[in-house]
Amino acid sequence: MKLKGAQILLRCLEEEGVDTIFGYPGGAVLPIYDALYDSNIRHILVRHEQGAAHAADGYARATGKVGVCIATSGPGATNLVTGIATAYMDSIPLVCFTGQVATHMIGKDAFQEADITGITLPITKHNYLIERTEDVARVVREAFYIARTNRPGPVVVDLPRDVMENVIDYESDKEEICIRGYRVMKGFNSGQVIAAVDLIRKAERPVIYAGGGVISSDASLELRELAEKRKIPVTTTLMGMGAFPSNHYLSLGMLGMHGTRYANYAISESDLIIAVGVRFDDRVTGKLDDFAPHARIIHIDIDAAEIGKNVDVDVPIVGQVKEVLAAINQRLDSVEEYTEWHKTIDRWKDEYPLVYGAPSEERIMPQHIIEVISEITQGKAIITTEVGQNQMWAAQYYKFKYPRTFISSGGLGTMGFGFPAAIGAKVARPDLPVFDIAGDGSIQMNIQELATAVQYKLPVIICILNNQYLGMVRQWQGLFYKGRYAYTDVSHQPDFVRLAEAYGAVGMRIKDSSEVEKAIREALEIKDRPVVIDFWVEREADVYPMVPPGKSLIEMLGGD
């Protein structure tokens, strides 16, 4: 059959099961958009390419499927870069298609030419520049395969205009994917599993430290089985929120810089850490030399390069978290004891619960808003966040119960991520309420996507915790720079209610704690357009507890 490169591309996407693409058209991708016009694949037109990358990312995080976005050459492609880097740091499977100038123009500094494969080299799992229409089908298949297998990540496929325009004879062949330098990880070292089981049996003060790998490996049930069988307390990273129910009696909540005191104390006092799908990030470990001084460490991860990268471990197990946990569980019997360790942790939980102060008049405590959303939705909602205080309060105060319900830029810390990610999540999961917990700073970084949400009637609820500051930076200035608030006051800001209305969204302004619940319930009733709630919160509320940078996990400030 005679087909254009662009038509072959679309057929391959359909074969991959792609139902939605987030994108923005332009000159170099005209042939692709023309083919897309005849396709059953849904195209969501964003208002800035960064929004497309984050929306595809939100879609991927909400479903576990590969997210797909498309942008034109040059500035279209470079606008994806922050979104690609965000997905790379958090190991999210994305395939990003970029337009490129025609092959004979490459390297001539043509109009809207950018070396996007060069630019994205260090922030992609792999990338391709397709030079022949004959390679389109193979490369697209490989791109999806690489994006979703092993440790997932973003793959960029650069598509020169002529490669998409050329017509070739094409028959779909389901050839086995064979990449010499890339093997999908199967199995694990069972000797290491036996060693791990042995350590778990002997441990007196074990803690499970679980991260995003549990979610991407779909291993929440196995994690819970391990915890319940051996009565092991579980703390999760920011990326691991939802991997273990927050209201479970064994849950310690989040650990690290803004983790709970009891999680950080438990890690510091433990004699065995079972690290599952994590990478010992600096925001988690605090000062490395003082991290878990008494503990032996079992580290389970799909990526061999994470083993021993930051800390030395006693029992490394490279493999799919789900398979490895199942193998460990199989070899372990249940215990019933309530030990000294549990008593100690219960005492810490009683002594150091998460607390926050009383609001002043006409101002709401931001933590209260998260608690109300948590109370109303009971974990049955998707919470995305921007970055900064809003993100930490959401992680601390929302009671996550299910995987894939917390969507946040953990590794890169991308302001402007939450709202487009919420759009992607809502497209993927129309059955669940979707909240973007935002700051007044972050929301302005991708606010143009209100037009997208209105156009596609996506009832995303944006809760702006408006303190008229770049709050987290201001907090650090307060703590470490003598209160010199250099350029963090953003009180010169738009009227968010009128801005929402100008876009065709619903806008609300809430200044009184007693109105918080009513506003959220009202927002949940709106089914055909986004809602922006501008909550005026206590201006100088800080996120506590906190491990100051470079300090150990037990040297926490606040919350005592």
């Binding site: 060069g118 260090p122 799992k125 792999h126 520049l129 330098g181 061999a304 390069a305």
Partner: protein, 162 residues
């Protein structure tokens, strides 16, 4: 810190060298020398990379390299019995008064004279790093005008493949 020789087979495709070099730069590892060329299989290239580091660094380098889709195999041949070669071209000042002396040095090192100018010679030498360093030192007193040295290439002795 120890010198390690990594023999890395990669896809013979444009951009692969950049991927490898970018990885070293981004993770903060320094490449001491690098030689790349096609192998007996034209779709595969071999990179011989000399890198300084303790075992932990080399383990990280190796694991990170394996994550590159275009990298097929990595062997650390530092501990293997091997043949190592580098090639150097040295342009040295050589007027009539010193030519005989230089020719003697060239013979001792089993090197070759590959170009003769009015007041200069180009000398080609191959060998392991020690020999190349030695010939360079021996010629330096005459005045080295220009020197080009390749990266190290290496092969494991005996019938096995590296």
């Amino acid at each position: 810190m120890k010198k390690h020789i990594l023999s890395v087979t990669v896809e013979n495709k444009p951009g692969v060298l950049t991927r490898v070099a970018t990885l070293f730069r981004r993770r903060g590892y320094n490449i001491e020398s690098l030689a790349v060329g096609e192998t007996e299989n034209p779709s595969i290239s071999r990179m011989t990379i000399v890198v300084n580091g303790d075992d932990r660094i080399i383990e990280q380098v190796t694991k990170q390299l394996y994550k590159l889709v275009d990298v097929i195999k990595i062997v650390d041949i530092s501990e293997e019995k091997r043949v190592e070669r580098e090639l150097v071209l040295i342009k040295v000042k050589a007027d009539a008064t010193v030519r005989t002396e230089i020719v003697q040095i060239v013979e001792i090192f089993r090197a070759r004279i590959v170009d003769i100018g009015r007041d200069s010679l180009i000398i080609e030498a191959t060998g392991d790093s020690g020999k190349i360093d030695a010939i360079e030192d021996s010629l330096r007193p005459f005045g080295i005008i220009e020197l080009v040295r390749t990266g190290k290439i290496a092969m494991v002795r005996g019938g096995s493949r590296g």
